[in-house]
Amino acid sequence: MIGELLHRPWPWYVTGPLLGLVAVGLLLLGNKPFGISSNLRHLCAACLPGDVAYFKYDWRQSGLWNLVFLAGVVVGGFVGGVLLRSPHPVAITSQAQASLAAIGIHDFSGLVPREIFTWHVLLSVRGVLMVVGGGFLIGFGTAYAGGCTSGHGIFGLADLQLPSVLAVVSFFAAGAAGSFLLLPLLIP
């Protein structure tokens, strides 16, 4: 009974407010801005700053707390995605299922489609374009925009910042365009 409750996915009205509270909690703890993509910059600054001015700063001073937070996210992913894994497929709407079936997605179990995110597919052109190309664009774009779905989408919007509105509208627009126009070309 308790076990079943713990493994059940959370509804939006639990997930959303908790996300908001994470951002509030970081401000309360140490006046820290909530944002995951800054860590990509901190990782560059820590591991391979090269001769690039953008990476020449004291990442321990400004970013160590966030890298520790990021390590926590990986652990939290294990807790929520493995230990408390939901036994059922994610309950997307039937319209969403139909729309994805139309572009060749038929296995709705798991967190990501098995047709795409396996080591085997990664070795194909399609896998490289989606996983490596997509990951690269995420890193390049979030650094260019100075934030991602957390830094702009939650933190920036909650602070009513116009730059974040621009970024959020842009990434949702491109996300929709990419999903409608690019994905069908890449999924077999």
Binding site: P9, A71, V73, V131, G141
Partner: protein
């Protein structure tokens, strides 16, 4: 929250002292991302294809909590546990070009991978090993941005 012990030498100590709290915050965020299904490629596609309200409801309710809380914390000049007065640096608008171009490129990547940076790392923890490659590619993307930054419009 606490009274300030804010002299420069004393600052280093509370910063280190709070690291376990940030770790805990990250764990909580990772659990929210997985149990709230925000790491699910299917959920993200549902939203980006406008075939369901889940993700939008999550964002709206997150903002409904965070926006008034931020305003309250700033108005009352509340001190953080670490001792500073809570203040949020406004992002410089400039010409706004970087937010549009950067947002568009990020959005394309988001569509291709079906995960934004937080979920990308949470998925590695959840056992989707291939996403570690996407994480590395994202670090590489950020590096290339840093390298090209002086030549890009902002």
């Amino acid at each position: 929250m606490t009274t300030a012990t804010a002299t420069t030498p004393a600052l280093a100590r509370p910063r280190e002292r709070l690291l376990p709290a940030y770790l805990f915050g990250g764990v909580l965020f990772g659990i929210v991302l997985t149990k709230g299904e925000l790491v699910s490629w299917f959920r993200i596609q549902e939203a980006l294809r406008f075939k369901g309200p889940y993700l939008y409801a999550v964002f709206a309710s997150a903002l409904a909590v965070a926006a008034p809380a931020f305003a309250w914390l700033k108005r009352h000049r509340v001190r953080s546990v670490a001792g500073e007065v809570i203040a949020i640096q406004p992002k410089a608008l400039g010409r706004g070009v970087r937010y549009v171009y950067g947002g568009l490129l990020f959005g394309l990547g988001w569509a291709l991978v079906g995960a934004c940076p937080g979920p990308l790392f949470a998925l590695v923890g959840a056992g989707v090993g291939v996403m570690a490659v996407a994480c590395l590619a994202a670090v590489a993307g950020t590096w290339v941005y840093g390298y090209l930054r002086p030549r890009l419009p902002h």
